[in-house]
């Protein structure tokens, strides 16, 4: 870090100190998936927005900061280590860049400021019961009728559809040719007539995903992003952001810190605290080395004009390493994996917690972390991409 960056880091720290309330910090601490408590995420979004920091990576003309990649990295890390709650990311990280690239002037001026301010929260309607990894086989139909598209079908695993007010989705507008050729990208209000939601309870007992049903939903054709039948290209552009936009090494630092905390409270089978147990400590060091290697890889991605392949590597290593770190946490947690303490994750919970201080989040996090190699392009699909596109194996 050069002097300017150190000054910048101090500025960020000062801002955090003044603005990240205990409640918001708690929302960050209690995260057990990529999502934080929804209301706290919105509150923090608005605070960041007032400072002009809600979408630092956006270009300045759209309300971003113009920070160097290093500064963005520092910013993200400081937030993460201070346990700031994650923002609802889909608008900022995915739809924003898409609209800047493909949107009409009207769409940009309608939507971008509202993403920036947190007035609109977007969910992503891609996956369907029959179309997961093979997204191009999606079958939710959109038929042109005057100035509207009439949409029928259903989307599944839509994260936070029960809270978001907007959805961007992929729909089928043509059935001829390659499956990819007949897909369009549409924006919709969640409160349109004909949209219904059924909540899906996750393995940890909470609701984050939903199934969204479209029954003769009329979406104005002005909500089409890009050309009709060219939504696949739009989505692929977006998927690169989903994979490349995230710094896993920040998450890993937080997860590793948690392992260290637990290992200072829990005793190993040999009667030593885990942190003094040579076997455990060397396992931890192995994971730290992987985390270090990934951190440097992420820096390579940021400083490269054409990161391409490395973003798939980062997603793959980032998620699988996250799983290994929580697995080690759970090894130290031992039998305290068992108590189900969902209520202790609520923001205003004031009761006691069973087990070491991090038991509550670690147990749910370990379970939820299995999803990270499924969503956003499964580990298998990532490997297929690397094999084909990078290694040239066909």
């Amino acid at each position: 870090m050069n002097e300017e960056e150190i000054a910048f880091r101090n500025e960020v720290r000062q801002f955090i100190k003044e603005n990240l309330t205990a409640k918001l910090r708690r929302a960050g601490t209690n995260m057990t998936s990529v999502f934080a408590d929804y209301d706290c995420a919105l509150e923090w979004h608005k605070i960041l927005h007032r400072k002009g920091w809600s979408a630092p990576e956006w270009p300045e003309e759209h309300g971003g900061t113009g920070w160097s990649p290093n500064k963005q990295y520092i910013f993200q890390r400081e937030l993460k280590l201070a346990n700031a709650p994650a923002l609802m990311a889909l608008g900022i990280q995915m739809l924003g860049p898409i609209l800047m690239h493909y949107g009409t002037e009207q769409q940009k001026s309608d939507y971008l400021p509202r993403i920036l301010s947190g007035e609109d929260i977007w969910c992503q309607g891609y996956s369907e019961p029959g179309a997961g990894s093979d997204l191009a086989s999606l079958s939710t139909r959109a038929e042109r009728d005057g100035d509207d598209y009439v949409v029928n079908g259903s989307k599944i695993w839509t994260s936070f559809a029960h809270r978001a007010n907007k959805i961007f989705c992929l729909v089928r507008t043509a059935t001829e040719g390659r499956p990819q050729a007949g897909i369009s990208f549409l924006l919709a209000d969640m409160n349109l007539t004909g949209i219904t939601i059924s909540e899906i309870t996750g393995l940890d007992g909470t609701v984050e995903q939903c199934q969204v049903f479209f029954n003769d939903v009329r979406i104005p054709s002005a909500n089409l992003v890009g050309e009709e039948n060219e939504g696949w290209g739009v989505a692929k552009y977006l998927l690169e952001f989903e994979r490349g936009g995230h710094n896993y090494s920040n998450d890993h630092q937080k997860l590793l810190a948690k392992v260290r905390d637990i290992s200072g409270e829990q005793f190993s089978n040999n009667g030593l605290l885990y942190k003094d147990d040579p076997f455990f400590v060397s396992k931890l060091a192995e994971l730290e080395i992987d985390a270090l290697a990934l951190e440097i890889t992420e820096q390579r991605i940021k400083s490269s004009d054409n990161p391409g392949a490395l973003t798939s590597v980062a997603k793959l290593v980032g998620t699988e390493l996250g799983q290994k770190i929580t697995e080690l946490s759970v090894d130290a947690l031992g039998a305290y994996i068992a108590p189900l303490q969902s209520e202790a994750l609520e923001i205003d919970y004031a009761g006691t917690v069973i087990g070491p201080s991090n038991a509550v989040t670690t147990s749910a996090e370990y379970i939820n972390m299995r999803a990270s190699t499924i969503y956003g392009g499964s580990a298998e699909i990532q490997r297929n991409i690397i094999a084909r596109a990078v290694l040239g194996l066909r």
Binding site: S127, D331, G334, A335, I367
Partner: protein, 382 residues
Amino acid sequence: MSLDSNQKLTDEQQMLSDMVSKYLSETYDFDSRRKIANGPVSVAPPHWKQFAEMGWLAMPFDESDGGFNGGPKEISILFEAFGKHLVLEPYLETILLGGGALSFGPEDIRRQYLPAIIAGDLQCAFAHHEPNHTAERYYVGTTALQSKDSWQLNGVKSIVSNAPHSGLLVLTARIKGRKHDSDGIGLFVVDKNVRGVHCDDYLTIDGRRASEITLNEVEVERGALLTVDAGQLDTLLDRACFAVCAEAVGAMSALISMTIDYCQQRKQFGQSIGSFQALQHRMVDMYIASELSHSLLIATTNAIANASDDRHRLLAALKFRVDRSAREISYGAIQMHGGIAMTDEFKVGHYFKRLTVISKQFGNANFQLERYRHYNVHNNHS
């Protein structure tokens, strides 16, 4: 080590196996189980009385105590089936641990409690682990002080499975020595409703119920001490360890068949996902992991049945291998099912949660490694 001769089930064992599979396949549907698992805490799994009527609860007890003298083979038949069907009923806690400990007691105690246990009218919990020390086998900070004709118990017990539905607690308390010593630990039977026992009840991720228990000047009579023999405590814990290994083997084989079925049915890119070689290889590895555990289960069952010197080493190997295999198989099963595996409505994740809990019970992987090395050296020298 010859296996073939010992692998065959006797007629009685075959009957037991058929009966258990039939009963559980017909009655133990996943949705009803899920409703129980999700709470509230006060609701108990409903099949306990039927288990009693079918004679399963009597299985491991001595004939003189009203039991059927069942050995490790019978236990593994029951527990493999429990694992396959994700059974929530507290056989481990009430019969193997609670009932097992009571069997060490004097005759009047056995007469007092065992008939009600075998009849399914009385449930038990085994309160051994203490806060932050759950990975240690002998850590007992709870104290037992003797006065004229009673004991006074003081301490804290953590994650006591089935305590919310138990009338009896069997608990460990230290009579002498330091907190980590294997000697000087007494096994006591305590009526859960006596003064000074305080329970905080909760659900666990594998659909069971457990409590944090505080013992504050709990007075019990002299006869409440069942044994102070460290060997008997080991026998009890080893038997429980063995049973959860059999349960895990059942759960793993269920996960593998579910995954194979799913991969054959689920189509992406115009073909069944089971046709992708990456998934085929992963399923093969899961199958191998399961068979390795199964082999060790068979060998351990025989070694225990024959009271072979090698039984401790084999049990450590088995539990270690089960931990490894359980991780590999649950992770693989979830991954290959995709999004649906992450939902409460779908079975796969519940097997994962149960297997995760089992991995940490009755000796984690490191404990088993150390034990294995200990007995390995021991065996090589003899």
